[in-house]
């Protein structure tokens, strides 16, 4: 019932002669009841007699009591306050008294009533406006805007430098085949030795058979040495090479085994 208020709003009070018919459900709180009572005086709210209004309100409340109608607490709070206001309004003003004067309190109540009425007036005007979907219409057949998300890859100089640093220090986390690189296999050594054996008619130390580039790094050198030694043993076992060591920890020497009748070792 949005347009229940404003002009001709009768609330729940029908004043038929002296009889006051009470219907508290029709009111939205004590201020609403007061405003209704004030409106029924049919005068400009600014000239309403607060004293008279207080009396009417108190009469309403006592009528409700007589009819054993239970009033909400805030109606009773307002009644008590209005009784207090009424008594102060009836006394001659005491300029020495602290706090707001009775007239200040009455003025503020009048302001509150006027403000509430003002809000109701504009609320009615607001609801009376052309409303979207009822009087004014938006486009019915809208076309969706397709969001095309264009991802722009970006990187900063720091990203770039970090990336390079990462690449250059990756070895620790490199894939398995990279880590296996410095391992020289026996098969590789065997292939190398077989190729070199033809030229090895004289005794040559094992180190001479190491592949190029494997002699400097200790890890690589160890791997190559082991592989070459194992390959040498294979060649000896196959009867195509001879191995000799002159003492404990002395250099290992290798040469091709002479073809044809060979001299037994002494």
């Amino acid at each position: 019932m949005p347009d229940d208020f404003g002009e001709g709003f009768a609330g729940g009070i029908a004043a038929g002669g002296d009889a006051l018919v009470v219907d508290v459900d029709g009111f939205e709180g004590p201020l609403d009841l007061l405003l209704t009572l004030a409106r029924s005086q049919k005068v400009d709210l600014r000239r309403v007699s607060i004293l008279g209004l207080a009396e009417r309100y108190l009469a309403f409340v006592s009528e409700a009591r007589r009819l054993r109608i239970e009033l909400a607490a805030d109606y009773l709070v307002m009644a008590a306050w209005l009784a207090f206001l009424k008594s102060r309004l009836l006394l001659p003003p005491d300029p020495a008294a602290p706090g707001p004067s009775a007239q200040d309190l009455a003025d503020h109540l009048a302001f509150q009533l006027e403000r509430l009425e003002g809000m109701r007036r504009v609320a009615a005007r607001l609801m009376g406006r052309d409303q979207l979907g009822r009087d004014i219409f938006a486009r019915g057949l809208t076309e969706p805007v397709i969001e095309r998300r264009r991802v722009i890859p970006d990187a900063t100089l720091v990203d770039l430098l970090r990336a390079y640093a990462r690449v250059k220090t990756r070895e620790d986390y490199a894939p398995l085949h990279v880590r296996r690189e410095p391992v020289y296999t026996m098969e590789q050594a065997l292939a190398r030795l077989r190729g070199m054996l033809g030229m090895a008619v004289d005794w040559r130390v094992l180190e001479a058979f190491l592949p190029e580039g494997w002699a400097l790094d200790p890890r690589a050198r160890r791997s190559a040495t082991a592989a070459t030694f194992a390959a040498m043993l294979e060649l000896v076992k196959a009867g195509v090479a001879e191995l000799r060591q002159d003492g404990v920890f002395a250099p290992l020497m290798l040469r091709a085994r002479a073809v044809g009748p060979h001299l037994p070792h002494g």
């Binding site: 109701r120 406006r129 979907g133 938006a138 809208t142």
Partner: protein, 210 residues
């Protein structure tokens, strides 16, 4: 550099820009802010000029360009609403409490719950504010810098759109209310009864909007 950019990207001629804005506005039900329109136009376009041209072109037509809170939309002319009876959705019946609460928020925004209660002289039920939020007509404003830092309520662009208001300043009767001093935050003298004495309706910046 602005000049350089302008010559680099030749903006379409004004008439073409107007066509483009016409198409963009026609395709949507929501009002679009100038910057949202500009976002979808080729570089160097002047959506404000295009809007102005469109407003002139559509003045008095069956659909019009309206402004809502700095955004623009096409809407049917108010006098032709009766033709769209079939499209009309029966607006949800609002309770008196909801209507008054909405009006108080609209005219006093940002308004705290205590202020709404102070003006109506009665408590505001949670359901009333929820309903108005659900309708998209009110939203949360900034918290009051007063004890308890209460939340405030403000109206939304959807509220303006629904009631056909360009800005909140165009609310009907706003000037009369202000001239009558009814929008002033007038603290109650101490001995007046209060609905909710716990909350301090500190109206310090209550009428920031107006």
């Amino acid at each position: 550099m602005g000049e350089a950019a302008r010559t680099l990207f030749d903006a379409p001629p004004a008439a073409e820009q107007e066509r483009m804005v016409e198409a963009i506005l026609f395709a949507t039900a929501q009002p679009l802010a100038l910057c949202a329109i500009a976002d979808r136009l080729p570089q160097g376009c002047d959506p404000a000029a295009a809007i102005a041209a469109l407003r002139r072109r559509y003045a008095g037509r069956g659909v019009e360009v309206v402004e809502r809170d700095g955004a623009f939309a096409f809407r049917t002319a108010p006098d032709l609403g009766f033709l769209m009876a079939r499209e009309a959705v029966e607006p949800r019946k609002l309770s008196r409490a909801a209507v008054e609460t909405l009006a108080i928020i609209a005219y006093h925004q940002p308004a705290t719950r205590a202020e709404i209660e102070e003006i109506r002289g009665v408590g505001v039920s949670r359901g009333t504010l929820d309903l108005l939020m659900e309708l998209g007509w009110i939203g949360l404003g900034r918290r009051r810098l007063s004890p308890g830092r209460p939340v405030t309520f403000v109206t939304t662009p959807a509220f303006l759109d629904h009631f056909g208001l360009e800005t909140a300043r165009d609310l009907p009767g706003l000037r009369e209310l202000r001239e009558a001093g009814l929008l002033e935050a007038r603290g109650a003298p101490d001995t007046l009864p209060r609905m909710d004495p716990d909350e301090d309706p500190d109206g310090g910046d209550q009428d920031a909007l107006f």
